[in-house]
Subunit: 353 residues, 4 copies
């Protein structure tokens, strides 16, 4: 018989980056979780307070980060989050999985077919068998598969709003089968915590610029998951941009508008698809998606407009890249996998302004 | 017999400003509170979602703001927060208090002696009798008085870290009786929600400027409360500044250093004073106070340094002006007044970065 | 015989907005111009120092802004800039033109065919005869026409980099005839100086959001001018976005890539087109367009990439919306009209960082 | 006989940092200067366009930075700017000076007495003889000495507005002899171009924090120069802060107000002192100093207020730390040393907003 009060013993492997810090923040406040292990690579041996000073005041402030050893994690926890650089997750995950842990990977290591890794990620996938078993962790679309999965590939920050915004429209035939343009804008936390002149304050204030296109690794992820969700192959041309903010991803998607589709029908389709989704807010006509209203929350805002003059369906989606775009969605996946309410530990509204 | 599960019926009068929105956010998530009434002046008749779109996704998104009528509030609630422009609170509060409600006022209307209002606030106080009964709501210093008060004057955002940082040092004789300089820096949410060119994005990016000195109304508040707390009259020279950020107040205080006092003794004194204060973090030597680490939380960071070369005690304090500097502190006061745990509904850590 | 040292007597009608302030800044430093009149509507009677405090230290700081009276301007100047709200220029310009002045209009009043004004600007054009004579003021494309024009329609901030980036590629057949997507990002100075909560600092920091699409009035301007420049009708789907910065427009354009076109051939085409254009910098492969490097200068950065996998030509363009996107381009047009060197008064490099 | 058209051959040693880039920008546009050499340490061998991409469009974009060799610089130039880390200037300057070059040093290596270097800068001064001959380069106070100097120590960004704001008041007896508090705020360009997490965008947005106090090396510089300028020893307690902006220093100074002094008399004293200073703007009563209005220009704004209630003279000063706080002031010094008009090459007004 299940103990209703038992807490899930959770390890975070890769606790020192921004996503790792956000996972720690969310899980420290999660009523069904016991944080059993925080591990990191270069930051091993430092306290949580040193690595994430904003958590210094929490009871966990004095905890010491352990080294990244999968076997040790497997002994201390029954559930693991991997928040590591691309490539490192795929190397560590099998040990954890073989030991019986359930795993959510926040990197891109389990999101694509094995054949795509050399071209888009620059490495040969070391665990193709596990890759085939991995479930794509977008709860609003794949909740049933996630609930039963051992290994969940947490979606990228850009693909999340793109798939949420386009999949219902494509499934309903409101957008046609042609190619899609996705223009993405992200804040600097999306660039990670590693140092670079391009991410300094002096170089970023009043700077808007594209980066790493058309080779960004979220491109094939969007294409693959849209096909998974709708059954229709899709081509995506994607350009991400850095804008002067810290949190927040906004995507603007341009797709072929089906004959007869209107802003009304697009909006109604999305509203219906997410009527019972606690973290998706479909905006009424005329309201504009805004990243700021999602900051610190697990919310996604979706807005759809039919530009009938040019035959284009335009869908904008906004979220906090560290929450619904990373750590919050990972916790949502864990909730599903562990049989908790999907919203457990994720009810905070945005901190605004 | 007290019903442990009964929720306190709370009204917010002045729910449309930034502090009102923050109160609403905090109280919607407070486990012992039932939000019975949201009222506003010009925004009466609009929904919460229209006035605070970041709360549109909450269950209260559809609530309609009521007009500001004290008698109506008195019927629907047993506890009221006033988050109104200076002068408006003093006019409304007596009706609520006479009807038996307990009240926390977030304006400056009950913080000073009656005689000070014409000079510093520009009006004659309309309710001097209630003013005399008001308790200054700084829980770390006046918790006992607050618990029994009917009317609590919630402190200003600047006086909060100034008094928390200086009162223990002055009481312990580590800073001398001479005049104090307080240099304050605030983000733009401290300037309120009213429109002005000076608070536009275009005028604010890359702009640092002082404002309204030496006549800022928090000056006599600092002087009075330091005297209340320490029993020693104090003179404060205060200059506030606007800096390009949204949330966050940092104060830097310069006081006469007592003979023999050191950074060690200053730090130890503060650490001892707040050893059991859940929302005060005294920084270890060498760590710098940082507003960003308090954003969205009820935390105050305090840092003390002895500049022995010049005989100056330097105390820096950082907080989120909308939380510990306004709505969070108001909820902390309510918790004390209602007999709840002081931290109820206030345990969120900062959203960082 | 022309007096080489004679200065052009110039009036600015609409000197109080951001573009008007930038015009004033540039023309005060222009060696061939005498600023004969600064006029404004609501700000008439105030000094330049009051209206634009950053110019308070200039010799013109004490000048008083005159009321907006076309006849008076016609007496005092031989050249006029109109920097007024849409609709106001079209009403004033004929008086100036009939009096023999040459005019550059920074509003949208002379950029479209008369038939387009009701739908895109919301008014019937009051001066269709002058509209037909107006020349579109993009010097890199229409220099000869501009030199001889009486009335020049200064381009919009978004159409400038779009047309500069796409016209040579389309003319050369490197992009096909199909529809184009333009995703624009602007800083807040592009939203003008009027007060609105949406442009406050508190609402803008960490906020990225689209606005006024798909009905933004720069859409038909892009379509028309691309056709003018290339002779091929074009459809543009355009979504502009506000990002947290003050100056800077970045456009990202997605067009059908012609068979066989490569990043090399796109880049070479642009480099050749602008080999002698002093204000256009075509970026070498791998360098990303960045608004920050254009701030305060009349420079445009253009970057072209062939996404051969999806058949998309991607062109990014960056400029300072108040300089090359408004006042600087207007001065460049004046230089051509007056027979000055195109770069006179416009040689300042960007202020970076 | 002096050739009026001869250009001064100038070398910049240390051209790769922010101050070096600003020097390059200003000198490329200076009508009396020929930039003969750009040299750098780690960036030697790279082009100017690679090191400072915002200058890529200038004629000098293709220049290659030379290695830092004093003897080579001495052969190519007759005037040198040193924009190097503290300690490096003192090692290089003697070679240049002995070869007959005149030198402006932007580091702190020639600003203090030799005895102060171990404590405040952490090194023993290697060239005490040249140190004694160095002139402090604050043109508004020491113009005559600068004109005849071989070696000028360019002031620090914080001391510049502090000395300009306080020296005339102290000399006139409007502020008394007691200790002074200086609270400084700087943008991130003041932290230099070296990489650090603390200066990343993610760590800086919405962050206000003090740094390196009370040991900041500008403290003894303020004390020494105030004494040099006024003949009265002075003690300064100084705390600098980082605020989220790129350019701009604001200092707020608190000094003992002399009996009888008023805001009027303070303001009149400053206005009189700088009546003929082209780069100092004394604000009229009620106007607040604002860093944004100085951005990109060599302007200083000064504001003085008498807080008679507490007996405090409050002086605020604002400037662009890379222009009047570094490169602009260095060019102003060069102009004086070379016999040019003080304002040559420095007439640009601020780029606002």
């Amino acid at each position: 018989m299940r103990d209703e009060n038992a807490r899930l013993r959770v390890a975070i492997l890769g606790a020192s980056g921004y996503a790792g810090g956000e996972l720690t923040r969310l899980l420290l406040a999660h009523p069904r979780v016991e944080l059993a292990l925080l591990a990191a690579n270069e930051s091993a041996g430092r306290t949580l307070a040193e690595v994430h000073p904003h958590l210094a005041g929490s009871p966990a402030g004095g905890w010491v980060l352990a080294p990244l050893v999968a076997a040790a994690a497997a002994e201390q926890a029954s559930f693991a989050f991997l928040s590591l650089p691309h490539g490192a997750s795929a190397a560590l995950a099998p040990t954890l999985l073989d030991a019986g842990l359930r795993v959510v990977d926040l990197a891109g290591d389990f999101r694509l077919p094995a054949a795509a890794y050399p071209a888009w990620y620059g490495f040969d996938h070391p665990a193709p068998a596990w890759l085939e078993k991995a479930v794509y962790g977008l709860p609003e679309v794949f909740a049933d598969d996630i609930a039963g999965a051992s290994l969940v590939a947490n979606p990228g920050c850009y693909p999340t709003p793109v798939v949420l915004g386009l999949a219902p429209l494509r499934s309903a035939g409101l957008i046609g089968p042609g190619p899609i343009v996705v223009d993405g804008k992200t804040g600097l936390s999306g660039a990670g915590r590693a140092l670079a002149e391009a991410t300094s304050y002096a170089a970023t204030e009043d700077s808007v610029r594209p980066y790493r296109f058309p080779t960004h690794q979220h491109t094939p992820e969007m294409e693959r998951v849209l096909e998974l969700a709708c059954g229709i192959p899709t081509t995506v041309s994607f350009v991400p941009h850095l804008v002067p903010s810290v949190r927040g991803v906004l995507v603007t998607c341009y797709a072929p508008l089906a004959h007869g589709a209107t802003t009304d029908s697009l909006t109604a389709c999305l509203a219906s698809a997410y009527a019972s989704a606690p973290f998706v807010r479909v905006l009424p006509q005329g309201e504009m998606a805004d990243t700021k209203r999602t900051r610190g929350s697990n919310l996604v805002e979706l807005q759809a407009v039919a530009d009938r003059r040019t035959g284009t369906a335009i869908v904008a989606g906004a979220l906090d890249n560290l929450v619904k775009g990373a750590a919050g969605q990972a916790v949502q996946n864990m909730n599903l996998m562990a049989g908790f309410e999907q919203t457990t530990g994720l009810t905070a509204t945005a901190v605004y302004p």
